[in-house]
């Protein structure tokens, strides 16, 4: 079984986000594999253990995304592909999905795995767009996955419960927390990662007809810092009245 995992390098979830000239400043921030993508990597390695085949990890990103790919290789993936985003003028989910689709369509694949969401822009779009571009079915937010006779049985989270979906392979599956517990890269794994193939692709060479982003970010802003609490003094009845007034007039929630 040939397995492709699409991963994204994101900020460490504990990183402090700083805006510089209206853009997110990545300097000095430690970068990690998007946590949901780690579930996808783990699942890929488990599928491989059961069915054999090769696991190729593909990431669309800047030069530092190679670190994320190497970590995936250290965890046990066989080959890495970086689609070098620096060559692109602007990127959005459309562009990423298109270049990923083109690159993946040239490799053998029976299943594609990815994270349910990237913790940075939280768009949850690339994986489903990718499936669409490749014209394969996709199942999102999967917490359990079984494969038999080229059919994937995926349990996914829905509001208030779960849903079980069967799809023929090849299919795109996105991982939700709970799917598995991702392994750590072992020390020998880290040593082996260096010797594994990591191919860098220039997106311009992929022959995607339209590489212009369809979406433009107007503005980034940080959440307003939390204000201190307010204590309402006075008699209970009076204080309750004051609270109701504040909720209506200031907080505007009533």
């Amino acid at each position: 079984m040939n397995i492709v995992v699409v991963i994204k390098q994101t900020f460490d979830t504990e990183a402090k986000i700083v805006l510089k000239d209206g853009q997110i400043d990545p300097s000095g921030v430690s970068l990690v594999i998007n946590p949901y993508d780690e579930f996808a990597i783990e699942e890929a390695l488990r599928i491989q253990k059961k069915f054999g085949g090769e696991v190729t990890v593909v990431s669309c990103g800047g030069p530092r995304s190679q670190e994320a790919i190497r970590t995936a290789l250290a965890m046990g993936c066989d080959k890495g592909v970086q689609i070098d985003e620096t060559a692109l003028e602007s990127v959005d989910e459309y562009v990423r999905a298109e270049v990923l689709a083109k690159a993946i369509s040239e490799m053998p694949y029976d299943i594609i795995l990815g994270g349910r969401i990237a913790v940075d822009d939280r768009s949850s779009q690339v994986a489903v767009r990718l499936a669409e571009a490749l014209n394969i079915p996709s199942v999102s937010s999967v917490v359990k996955l079984d494969i038999e006779n080229n059919i994937a049985t995926a349990t996914r989270e829905i509001d208030g419960g779960t849903e079980i979906i069967e799809v023929p392979l090849p299919a795109m599956i996105t991982a939700q927390k709970g799917l598995n517990e991702p392994r750590y890269p072992t020390m020998p794994g880290i040593m082996k990662a260096r010797k594994k193939e990591l191919k860098v692709i220039n997106p311009a060479d992929l022959g995607v007809s339209d590489l212009s982003a369809k979406m433009k970010v107007q503005n980034y802003s940080l959440p307003t810092p939390r204000q201190g609490g307010k204590k309402i003094e006075g008699e209970p009845a009076e204080a309750a009245r004051e609270l109701a007034r504040l909720l209506r007039e200031e907080a505007k929630v009533l």
Binding site: V32, E67, A74, Y184, M187, P188, G189, I190, M191, R194
Partner: protein, 385 residues
């Protein structure tokens, strides 16, 4: 000269940090309180290759060396100092020494289990009446032809009562001092005549077991002699020059933990209408901690680099150990002051830091002993090895 970590070292650091945060941090307070040694952490470390530094791959080594080892140990010890002992106790102590001095049979038989975490390792030098003066040890190993008989007792042995395989130093030529000591590999699970008594009165390092080992006519097979007969003192000094890195790295990591905690607290705690970090005297304390922490870390890296490059490292190791220990004790002391009354409460980690810091001044050569080594080498009284 390059201060950056390599890509692999960066991955080792990330992995070890991640591992320590997920597998060790959740149990720190519970295990402190119960003086509990969580054996499965060692198993996990072994499985992930965290016990196989500078060991040939044929015996299960991880293909990496000293620098990567100290980087990993640092992250682990920063979360819980007691766990610094795991790498010394298994890898840099017994496994590495057997790899250096052992026969092919000994290496094959003992190293893989020490590196995989199947065994808890240990090394026993100290006795009730023999500490810094190693050559004054009294435990005897009598040659009985096809085996040795060990009699006497060892004191303060890390891992002692939990240990599966360890090195034990004993006198094989009484009266010959340093020239009459030999090193033995002891299989604790299959050697009758050894009583192991846990020591429960330690000031700190509570989740790290320490024991007294009493040998009474314990029979050790001939083939378990490590290195030449009466050559044990040299082996012991060679080993200590490695295991001391566990102390040096652990101490540097502890000072970093104290600094991180103190910085966070100084930024959060407000008095007189401003964060206490704004007070010049707190800044003085933070600056001292930062300086010593940074210096300690780079002394550790330097010693590791010398070892990886097979250069004399004894003075560098002693400097790293001595300096990092002082930094740790100072940092723990300052952290407790900066945290104020909360620092004195067991709700916060300051008390643990201070307890754990104090070990470093005694273990693996007291501060006095390391001062003597540094000066002795500097003055040309002894060679750097």
């Amino acid at each position: 000269m390059n201060f950056a970590l390599t890509e692999e070292q960066q991955m080792v650091q990330d992995m070890a940090r991640n591992f320590a945060e997920k597998e060790i941090a959740p149990y720190v307070e519970e295990d402190e309180e119960n003086h509990y040694y969580r054996r499965e952490i060692l198993t996990k470390m072994g499985e992930l290759g965290l016990l196989g530094w500078s060991i040939p791959e044929e015996y299960g080594g991880n293909g990496m060396g000293w620098m990567e080892g100290v980087i990993a140990l640092y992250e682990i010890a920063k979360v819980h100092t007691s766990w610094r002992l795991s790498i010394s106790g298994n890898c840099w102590g017994p496994a590495m020494t057997i790899n250096e001095y052992g026969t092919p049979e000994q290496k094959e038989k003992y190293i893989p289990g020490l590196v995989s975490g199947e065994y808890v390792g240990s090394f026993a030098i100290t006795e009730a009446n023999s500490g810094s003066d190693v050559a004054s040890m009294k435990m005897t190993a009598e040659d009985k032809g096809d085996h040795f008989v060990l009699n006497g007792s060892k004191m303060w042995i890390s891992g002692g009562h939990t240990s599966d395989v360890g090195l034990v130093y004993a006198v094989t030529n009484p009266g010959a001092g340093a020239k009459g000591i030999s090193c033995f590999i002891v299989d604790y699970n299959n050697t009758p005549g050894i009583e192991r008594i846990p020591i429960h009165t330690k000031f700190g390092m509570w989740p790290a077991p320490t024991s007294e080992l009493v040998f009474e006519n314990a029979i050790i097979p001939k083939e378990n002699l490590l290195g030449p007969l009466n050559g044990g003192f040299k082996i012991c000094m060679w080993m200590l020059n490695n295991t001391r890195m566990g102390c040096a790295t652990g101490a540097a990591a502890l000072s970093a933990a104290c600094l991180e905690g103190a910085v966070q607290y100084a930024n959060e705690r407000t008095q007189f209408g401003q964060p206490i970090g704004k007070f010049q005297m707190i800044q003085q304390q933070i600056a001292e901690m930062k300086l010593e922490d940074e210096a300690a870390k780079y002394l550790v890296y330097k010693a590791a680099w010398l070892k990886d490059n097979k250069l004399p490292s004894q003075q560098a190791t002693s400097m790293a150990k001595l300096y990092a220990c002082n930094a740790a004790v100072h940092a723990a002391n300052l952290a407790m002051k900066i945290y104020g009354s909360y620092g004195y409460s067991t709700e916060y980690p300051c008390a643990r830091w201070l307890r754990d810091a104090k070990q470093f001044e005694t273990l693996e050569g007291t501060s006095n002993i390391h001062t003597m080594i540094v000066a002795g080498i500097e003055l040309g009284y002894q060679p750097d090895r």
